[in-house]
């Protein structure tokens, strides 16, 4: 088990280094940072001096090392677009994205899991067929289309909910929250539904197919042959066996909510990190892009690690200690 953890940690570090390398290389390629920082009339000698002062003359690996060091401290330089430290910008936007993602994840789980279990247990009922059809639509439609559709129905035609922005927010320490105001909550509804929809349908279909698979196994057949009541078979055996693989995949899926929030934030002009990165790419704001890249890679690496460990904890077959292996007849 320890060997496993160490190996995964090593992998994670390798990935982070690779990502850091890519992020750093961005800087080398996107034209001359000096030009973005000084005016057009600055004489060449001054530029050269500036370059030297900033350490841009140093060999590649020295600069890379410096970049890594600074990155470890959370410093990524100054945004080209806003002229402010990147980490400050991201920290401001973080609460918006996190609140949205959290709400969406909760929605996806609360609706997706039960729906999946139901359609797995009663695949032929009309309700199940309805869910499956809706879920197919949910999976097929791109997120931005569902967002636009929701905006059209609830904001343009009915006028019940706002179509952009976050509403009024309350500042608590370094965090801004929209949970505490009515307008904040109203503004949260459409974006979180949009964000949750894809995940919700994915979870539902996953749980359903796992459930159907489990219900065909020999041990379920044997449980039935032993006369166990349906309640025990479905919720004792089948459910547990279904959830084990589902938990891990779901964890990964929910992590990807952060990625999909880019789209939702753009549709609703939600002031989060996703919206920031889209604008940054359009502007070629490299420091922001680099920071986002590293941050997101870190996030996913951590999620994957946790999910792998979770798998280990949940499936007793993987926990097999060599000594406990079967012996004797």
């Amino acid at each position: 088990m320890i060997a496993f953890v160490i190996r995964r940690l090593g992998q994670s570090i390798a990935v982070m280094l690779a990502v850091g390398f890519i992020a750093f290389s961005l800087f080398s390629y996107v034209g001359d940072p000096i030009s973005s920082m000084v005016g057009q009339d600055t004489p060449i000698a001054d530029r050269a001096k500036l370059r030297h002062d900033l350490g841009l003359d140093d060999p590649f690996f020295v600069q890379f090392g410096r970049f890594l060091l600074r990155a470890a401290h959370g410093e990524f330089g100054i945004s080209y677009q806003y002229g402010r430290p990147v980490q400050r910008l991201l920290a401001e936007r973080l609460p918006a994205t996190l609140e949205l993602s959290f709400t969406a994840a909760l929605l996806a789980l609360l609706i997706g899991l039960p729906m999946g279990v139901y359609t797995g247990l009663r695949p032929e009922s009309w309700l199940s067929r309805l869910f499956m059809t809706l879920s197919l639509i949910g999976v097929s439609l791109p997120t931005f289309l569902t967002g636009i559709l929701l905006i059209w129905i609830f904001a343009v035609m009915l006028g019940w909910l706002p179509s952009f922005g976050r509403g009024d927010v309350v500042q608590i320490g370094g965090w801004t929250t929209g949970f505490l105001t009515l307008s904040g909550l109203k503004a949260l509804i459409l974006p979180s539904i949009t964000l949750a929809l894809f995940q919700m349908t994915l979870i539902m279909r996953l749980v359903r197919s796992e459930m159907l698979e489990v219900l065909r196994t020999d041990y379920i057949k044997f449980a039935r042959a032993r006369g166990l009541p349906n309640r025990l078979i479905y919720f004792g055996h089948a459910l547990k066996n279904t959830l084990v693989p589902v938990i891990t995949i779901t964890g990964l899926q929910l992590g990807s909510i952060i990625a999909f929030s880019i789209i939702t934030e753009t549709v609703f002009q939600w002031p989060g990190m996703g919206f920031l990165i889209v604008q940054a790419i359009g502007f070629a704001d490299v420091p922001v892009m680099a920071c986002y890249l590293v941050l997101v890679a870190f996030f996913f690496v951590v999620i994957n690690l946790i999910v792998d460990l979770l798998y280990y904890a949940v499936d007793p077959r993987l926990r097999l200690d060599r000594a406990g292996a079967a012996h004797g007849h």
């Binding site: 996107v30 197919l136 791109p142 289309l145 990625a259 789209i263």
Partner: protein
Amino acid sequence: MVTESADLPVEAAPPRAVGAFRRALDSDLFYSFRRSPLTVVAALVVLILGGSALLCSWVAPHNPFDLASLNILDSFDPPAWVDGGNWTYPLGTDDQGRDVLSAVLYGMRVSILVGFSAVGLALASGVSLGLLAGFAGGWVDTLIMRICDVLLSFPAILIAILIDGVARSVLPHDRQDEIAFSVVVLAVTVLPAVQFARTVRGSTLVERNKEYVQAARVIGVHPVTIAFRHILPNVIGPVLVIATISLAVAIINEATLSFLGLGLPLTQPSLGTLIRVGQNFLFSGEWWMILFPSLALAGLALAVNLLGDWLRDALNPKLR
């Protein structure tokens, strides 16, 4: 459960092609196709949309990109059946006076082309990589699989966005519109390629130990020939199912990129670009500019997804 596989009674040999066609019509696959009206509808939709898109130069009433034919006075015309519309522009016009119907057709063609190119490229690269990894084994396999694992742990859209973003920063600004197509295709290709590589590698590992491969090796057939002539036909099955679904995903990812402004530009718009532009006019009441591209995109994605779903269920031996 008993599944029978009674063959057709042997007839006096019909010509091979006809025999094959008849076998196909009578096969379990086509039977399940016929039985599911939804799938038939989906196939029709794909044919109609796809066909009209690819033939758009002939089918579309106007060419929305011929600047000379545009009349700014015609802009913001609503669809024909609404007050103020006329049948020259059946689905209305946009802010530049372009016919929405034609724009949608051309845009659909771009979307489909990107989708097919991406999946085609992904197939070529992914299958080859998978065969290589599975067949060669050793450190080659480990290296390729590690990279695939890492890439697969990120969502496709994120990778597409990042590749696109990086490409944009790296390439000179003034050439960006021209190469946008290639950049977008590349961005959307990476993840399906990795998926294909994974699947093929798994199947190759299984096939590699089978006797026909060992026999070929003993005879001295070159490994590359073994890989492509012998192993490939046996592992391609599941890949094709994934490929169909990947097509829908590729189309959607490209649309998303274009919607975010990171994909195809206005000079060569895809459905996503049209939707992005249309969103600006949603509140001012020109709803047709966003509705029709959205319908086209949704219809296309849904239909391809349905077909992929049906294909997967029909080919899944466990569900029979």
